[in-house]
């Protein structure tokens, strides 16, 4: 089939060695402009202009989301000094939306990648590989609103209704209020996020692992390397580039995370599960404080910038750009 050909191409291209950068084929700015015109127009209107607008609005009262009254740095000062729900460093461990997002960044990203890698390796050794991958990928097809319903029946604090507490009840633990206890709520939400994203990581990493030639693996084993050494010495280095691209994609998405928190806990109990994007939304729309919401958005962009810069550097070193 014609389809198989590009598949082979793509596999071949993954084998660790950086691909040759495309050479100068044709220097043609006018043609390029034609190809890029719709992109430039849409990105300009929908992303670049609103970002500039938001930056300006973060120095304004922002009634109705419009420029109504300039307030200097008030929104930022307010955010960092008067809003313990955004960041509270006065006690240990710190709390607030910013801190929660850091928890998400660390745990969600690393667990998704770890599980994705483990599953990809394990699945490649069985005949029902595609079924397993299909199963872990299934959550990607589920709307966030449906996720809330699904997990309600898992996390319900009443052991007669919540699956998890019913299971714990068998061994006489709990019941635990997964979404109602501030000590558990972030972990519970992160677990849902992980459940939703592992499929994506598995699929990508599985494909990367398959591109490693079996001769290399064989040779290592013949030389007496055990499975763990093979994994550490060969597989891990070979998939480090896909892992880092995946990590950046996940990190950017987790900082923008909104729906899961909004739908499952609305930031509660109290404000224990708020994250940055939730705060931005909460301040702007229900709160009507568009200036403060914009300040949150700008803080969010500032946090993401180093991650993006790392991404860019990574491209450079792998000479893809």
């Amino acid at each position: 089939m014609a389809l198989d050909e590009p598949l082979e191409l793509s596999k071949g291209a993954i084998g660790g060695k950086p691909p040759t950068p495309p050479q100068v084929e044709q220097r043609n700015s006018r043609v390029a402009l034609l190809f890029l015109a719709p992109t430039i127009a849409l990105l300009g209107i929908f992303l670049v202009y609103p970002t500039i607008y938001t930056f300006a609005l973060s120095f304004n009262r922002g009634r109705r989301g419009e420029f109504t009254q300039w307030v200097g740095f008030d929104n930022y000062v307010n955010l960092f000094t008067k809003d313990p729900n955004f960041i509270d460093l006065s006690k240990f461990p710190p709390s607030g939306a910013l801190f929660n997002n850091i928890l998400w960044l660390i745990f969600y990203t690393s667990i998704v990648i770890f599980l994705g890698l483990v599953l990809a390796v394990m699945a490649s050794r069985v005949r029902y590989e595609s079924i397993i991958k299909g199963i872990v990928f299934l959550p990607m097809a589920i709307a966030a609103t449906a996720l809330a319903v699904i997990w309600t029946f898992v996390y319900h604090p009443d052991p007669t209704l919540g699956l998890l507490n019913a299971i714990l009840g068998i061994v006489n633990i709990g019941p635990i209020s997964w979404l109602g206890d501030p000590g558990f709520v972030n972990a519970s939400l992160i677990a849902v996020g992980v459940w939703g994203s592992v499929g994506f990581a598995t699929v990508i990493l599985s494909a990367a692992i398959k591109s490693i030639s079996s001769e290399i693996l064989e040779a290592a084993r013949v030389d007496g390397a055990n499975e763990f050494q093979v994994f550490r010495g060969i597989i891990l280095p070979m998939v480090s580039l896909p892992i880092s691209v995946l990590a950046v994609t996940l990190a950017v998405n987790v900082i923008k995370l909104f729906d899961l928190v909004y739908i499952m806990t609305n930031g509660g109990p109290g404000t224990s599960s708020r994250v940055i994007a939730f705060t931005m939304y909460q301040e702007s729309f229900p709160g009507g404080l568009f200036g403060k919401g914009s300040a949150v958005a700008i803080v969010m962009l500032l946090i993401m910038t180093p991650i993006m810069l790392y991404n860019v550097r990574r491209f450079r070193t792998s000479s893809v750009v």
Binding site: R61, R63, R64, G65, N78, K82, D83, P84, N85, Y155, H156, P157, D158, P175, I176, S177, W178, L179, G180, D181, P182, T265, G267, G268, P269, G270, T271, Y281, E283, F285, P286, G287, G288, L289, K292
Partner: protein, 445 residues
């Protein structure tokens, strides 16, 4: 400051409501599209006369059964005026939908606003039309309401919205059979209440259901306690711009609240309650398989019991309510309600707003049993069951009626419900920080 008087006038409203419920005063209904009314004082163009066959959009966050009940009112409006009021439900993200529709130039013609904080925001934003801008004679509306009711929809002394429905929030729901089996009579005051909790708890079951994941159930608890314990005047001050949340009365009310809302009394414990929604909390006491004996929330709980939680349940025998226990002899009643506001002056809007002030509309709506009508001349007999009749009478007979305080707080402020969620877990609430935030929010309004 201009908002303050409405709290003072509210108790008077109650006195008037009594007479309203008792007598059958004829309502002073401004005739729809009356020529006198359309000589409006408004700055923008007054609404034209009746747009028979016209269409306006009405939006609120009601769906399901509530929507069906409200649709009956809209149908009656259509039958009377020929104007179609098309209903749009926006259950989620209500503020977002409203704001984005306004920004894009598609505001709903009329919207039901949940909460006065909302109303103030959109009024101060200039997004809502004054009632007088529609060509409605505000003074002519006054006789339809007890004094103080219309003021609830006022911002800075101008009438922007009209209260169209409310519910008592001082109804404490219980299982009559369970209480009498335990030898407990519905407690009248706080001491009797805590004693009753002790008796019920000693019989094995945890007495209270609680769905604290919906944090407004906690603000209702707090408000009901505060208005009784600190008194109506302190309540008025607290929920106004001059409120001081560091006042000891706040911590005292929270203390009383956590004295009863704790692991000893709440079925399943506090942490479980924080993961449980409002309706699931009702189900703890009133499902076919109940564990708890009592559940505190507003008058609308009755409809949820029979409509959602246990369709076999009968009000009066399986579920009934007593007055939220008095504290220090104070019996003030808190109410929650929704106001109707116009976002355009399109033909038909004026007619609709006027219609909603009539006993006719109030009667249709009250007849569904879902709401209590603020319109004076809606006869108490239209309420379909004893529980709603008593609810209307409770509000009418109260010595003090106060509007749901958390609905009065500015939208951009800190979340009182979230702080109370912390409090019932035994965490100390930083009221000084709360005060600083809410001050900023009031100043920013």
């Amino acid at each position: 400051m201009a908002k303050f008087p409405r709290f003072l006038t509210l108790p008077v409203a109650v006195v008037m409501l009594i007479s309203a419920c008792g007598g059958g005063a004829t309502p002073a209904v401004p005739a729809a599209s009356g020529p006198a009314a359309s000589t409006g004082t408004g700055a923008s163009q007054p609404a034209g006369s009746a747009a028979a066959g016209g269409e306006i959009t009405v939006t609120s966050l009601w769906g399901g059964a509530e929507q069906e009940n409200f649709q009956k009112v809209l149908d009656a409006f259509k039958a009377k005026t020929g104007i179609t009021a098309k209903y749009e439900s926006n259950r989620d993200n209500y503020a977002t939908v409203l704001q984005t529709k306004i920004t894009a130039g598609n505001p709903p013609d009329v919207a039901i606003l949940p909460g006065i904080g909302f109303l103030r925001r959109f009024a101060k934003d200039g997004s809502i039309k004054k009632v007088s801008d529609l060509g409605i004679d505000v003074a002519a509306l006054q006789p339809n309401y007890a004094p103080g009711i219309l003021e609830i929809g006022s911002v800075d002394g101008q009438l922007y919205a009209i209260m169209v429905k409310f519910n008592s929030k001082s109804t404490f729901w219980y299982r009559p059979a369970k209480l009498s089996a335990a030898g407990v009579t519905p407690p009248a005051d706080w001491d009797a209440f805590t004693a009753a909790l002790g008796t019920l708890a000693s019989k094995g079951d945890k007495p209270l259901g609680l769905g604290a994941k919906d944090d407004w159930t906690l603000t209702d608890w707090f408000e009901s306690i505060y208005v009784r314990q600190a008194g109506p005047e302190a309540y008025d001050k607290l929920f106004s711009k001059n409120g001081d949340w560091t006042d000891p009365s706040v911590a005292a009310a929270v203390k009383s609240m956590t004295d009863v809302l704790n692991d000893t009394n709440v079925d399943g414990g506090i942490k479980a309650a924080l993961g449980r929604g409002f309706v699931d909390g009702i189900a703890q006491a009133f499902s076919a398989n109940p564990k708890a004996d009592m559940y505190y929330e507003g008058g609308f709980v009755g409809g949820i019991i029979t409509g959602q939680v246990n369709k076999a349940a009968k009000l009066g025998t399986d579920a009934d309510w007593f007055d939220f226990p008095s504290i220090n002899g104070n019996k003030g009643v808190t109410i929650g309600g929704d106001v109707l506001a116009a976002f355009t002056t399109k033909p038909g809007v004026k007619e609709f707003m006027e219609y909603m002030t009539t006993a006719e509309a109030g009667t249709v709506w009250a007849g569904t049993g879902a709401i209590i009508s603020p319109v004076k001349s809606v006869d108490v007999s239209v309420y379909p069951n004893d529980q709603t009749k008593r609810e209307a009478a409770q509000v009418a007979n109260a010595t003090a009626v106060r509007f749901d305080g958390s609905d009065l707080l500015p939208g951009g402020g800190p979340n009182l419900g979230a702080e109370l969620q912390k409090a019932i877990q035994g965490q100390t609430v930083d009221w000084a920080s709360f005060q600083a935030q809410i001050k900023t929010a009031w100043d920013n309004e």
